[in-house]
């Protein structure tokens, strides 16, 4: 009996030692003062939350493209458009789910006209404008809904409320207009638009000498911040390269490392990762056996397979971008091209909805062949806010612009690596 008790005690003490050792490591690694309950939670996180996260996340695809302009119309054409990065981020996060609800619950499709669209801008509503038109089926699937409306690429959408019902007006890339009834929350529009006061932005239909009618223009002089662009990594970039390699399925401990001037090259199997001193990253494979496999189901429609591919690329590219760039800079999917079954996805960088122009260089580009990413390049941006700069007054920009210009604020790289805001005509794309 005594021997049995001794054995039992040894077992209990051994288990206690293991638990205490785990807690000891958590307390040592974490600088936070976790409560005993939280300590136990952290110790068992890997075994518990995995299953919970799978339960709740479902299979909803994440949005890969964002609007470049958001505006809140409070009626009779009065409107507020966020201008700074912070205002834009808040507006985006507060309206994103509303538009998902509106797109997801749309019904009663009908064709509309420019007049109807412009008249709707006099109601209370929220406008989203895309720099590059987005196929409606993508917007619909990102809203976790599958609406069979083919061949419409949405360049702007306006959700307005009338008699507490929400109507979604769409303008497509061909200049045609479409309209839906929705079950979205009309009270959200009323409540949200009431919180914003007009801030000097007007719809061009009130001043449309040579500007497209539904373009939002900044009526007065205004200033936006400039940003200095950090080139190169500060300090040791070993940690950065490990994170990057893990995302690209390269084992940091098994890869060979070479240096070519300021460039560090990592090689594992057929994968090549170049980390340049100017923060540029390039991933390539030397043969078709390599590449980062994407989870693309084979027995689905072309649209679904394309969406699965975008989701796979988005997760990797956005993850790398977050690792290497400033919080304030946002990536957005701008185009997809296909050549012999190989797809190239381009992403551009935006700050506060304003496109950051760096010549012909896309902020990120990925080549997908046979369900695998075989080439990837990223030009991250690490920005530091500097002084404010006045943007060319609209009247002057309008005088210099072409007929029916689409004038928007963009950032261009000026002297001394400073990003400066300017008004540019984006009628033909950036």
């Amino acid at each position: 009996m005594t021997e049995f008790l001794k054995t039992l005690l040894i077992c209990v003490l051994t288990v206690t030692m293991v638990l205490l050792t785990v807690c000891f490591f958590i307390v040592t690694v974490s600088s936070d003062a976790l409560s005993p309950r939280d300590l136990v939670f952290e110790a068992t996180r890997s075994t518990r939350t995995e299953s919970n996260e799978k339960d709740v996340s479902g299979t909803q695809l994440q949005t890969a493209a964002f609007p470049c302009q958001i505006a809140f119309f409070s009626g009779m054409g009065r409107l507020y458009m966020p201008l700074s990065h912070q205002e834009y981020s808040e507006a985006l996060s507060s309206t994103e789910q509303f538009f998902e609800e509106a797109i997801g619950s749309c019904y009663d499709y009908r064709q509309s006209s420019e007049t109807d669209y412009l008249l709707s801008l006099l109601e209370q509503g929220i406008l989203w404008v895309y720099d590059y038109p987005m196929p409606f089926y993508m917007l619909s699937r990102w809203a976790d809904y599958d609406y069979a409306l083919q061949d419409i690429s949405v360049s702007s959408m306006f959700a307005c409320v009338k008699d507490s019902s929400v109507t979604l007006h769409l303008k497509d890339s061909a200049g045609a207009y479409h309209c839906f009834s929705t079950q979205a929350d009309g009270a959200f529009i009323t409540r949200t638009c009431a919180t914003f006061s007009p801030n000097g932005v007007i719809s061009a239909m009130t001043n449309s000498r040579n500007t497209a009618d539904d373009v939002l223009i900044l009526s007065g002089g205004f200033s936006l911040p400039c940003y200095s662009v950090n080139t190169g990594y500060s300090g040791d970039n070993t940690e950065i390269s490990r994170t990057v390699m893990t995302r690209l399925s390269i084992n940091p401990y098994l890869s060979s490392v070479y240096r070519d001037g300021d460039t560090t090259i990592y090689i594992e199997g057929s994968s090549r990762l170049h980390l340049y001193a100017d923060r540029h990253l390039s991933y390539t494979v030397t043969d078709q056996s390599g590449g980062i496999p994407l989870s693309i189901p084979s027995d689905v429609s072309r649209q679904d397979s394309l969406l699965a591919m975008i989701e796979g690329v988005r997760a990797i590219v956005f993850g790398l971008w977050d690792d290497l760039s400033s919080d304030s800079v946002q990536l957005s999917l701008t185009s997809i091209s296909e050549n012999d079954g190989a797809y190239t996805l381009y992403f551009d960088a935006y700050i506060g909805g304003c496109y950051i122009s760096r010549g012909d260089i896309a902020a990120a580009a990925a080549l997908v062949e046979n369900g695998k990413i075989t080439s990837l390049s990223i030009y991250p941006l690490s920005l530091h806010r500097t002084k404010d700069s006045s943007v060319l007054p609209f009247a002057q920009a309008q005088a210099a612009a072409s007929d029916k210009a689409v004038l928007r604020v963009q950032y261009v790289l000026g002297d001394e690596n400073i990003l400066v805001p300017i008004l540019a005509d984006v009628k033909g794309g950036n």
Partner: protein, 261 residues
């Protein structure tokens, strides 16, 4: 005989190791606790005195809060609708996370993502709608305090600041609105930011919006949604100031609610 002695030796060694580990953990925990408090006090000292920042205001708040996600409980929503709608209750999935429950008459209850409820039902003395909602909320792991339109919802002892239920009787009909996230269970997610870091966030928000001196701060959860099928309880601080108030997320520091007098 030798093996029996060895067992005592093993027990003694294990005891010693456990004691050393326990003492070490206790020491490190106490030190971390002190460091967290020091960083909070240091952050309070940086803030201008005119904003009324006092360490005592923040020391009473939980050191850390976690965010929670929960799968939306559609059967619970259907059960609530069936209990308050008279006659046969038909449901429609409108897409975008909108579910409508209709009776053959004009009764209609609508559930949206994030626990948003609106509806109009026939007035009936035998059905106390708030009791139906409270019972469903309690099944979802929420706690409640009070009754009727005064009911407050809590999770893990912390109030959910935007959760509410309210109704208005218009003769034969009653309209109802509310935010109550019915969930099949709650999964703990990431840990929120430290109190010291949040004090600096508060200072910036008060400066940006000219809200004046702080009157009170309390820790709350804010009911939101991750997508149409998933609820999110975001830990936040609800701050009352001289010229208004705001609720700020302690996850991503975003302002969730703002009112300026």
């Amino acid at each position: 005989m030798e093996w029996k002695k060895a067992k005592w030796l093993i027990i003694a060694m294990l005891l010693a190791v456990n004691i050393v580990l326990a003492v070490n953990i206790a020491y490190r925990y106490t030190r971390a606790l002190g460091a967290e408090l020091d960083s909070l006090r240091a952050a309070v000292e940086i803030a201008p005195e005119s904003y009324g920042f006092e360490a005592a205001l923040f020391e009473q708040l939980p050191r850390y809060l976690y965010e929670y996600t929960g799968s939306r409980d559609l059967p619970a929503e259907a059960a609530v609708a069936s209990a308050i709608v008279h006659g046969e209750c038909k449901s429609t999935d409108e897409g975008g996370g909108v579910f409508i429950y209709n009776s053959p008459g004009v009764e209609r209850v609508l559930f949206r993502r994030g626990g948003n409820i609106t509806g109009i039902v026939s007035s009936d003395e035998n059905i106390i709608i708030s009791d139906v909602i409270v019972a469903a909320a309690q099944k979802s792991g929420l706690q409640t305090l009070g009754e009727g339109d005064e009911v407050e919802f809590y999770y893990d002892g912390t109030p959910i600041s935007n959760a509410y239920y309210s109704h208005t009787v218009y003769g034969e009909h009653t309209s109802l609105t509310g935010i109550v996230p019915f969930s099949t269970g709650w999964a703990r997610g990431e840990k929120g930011r430290s109190r010291g870091e949040m004090v600096l966030v508060l200072k910036n928000i008060i400066e940006d919006h000219g809200l004046g001196a702080i009157k009170s701060v309390k820790a709350v959860y804010f009911a939101e949604s991750v997508d149409s099928k998933t609820h999110l309880l975001t830990p936040a601080w609800q701050v009352e100031c001289q010229n208004g108030g705001f609720t700020v997320s302690i996850m991503d520091k975003s302002v969730l609610e703002l009112s300026v007098n």
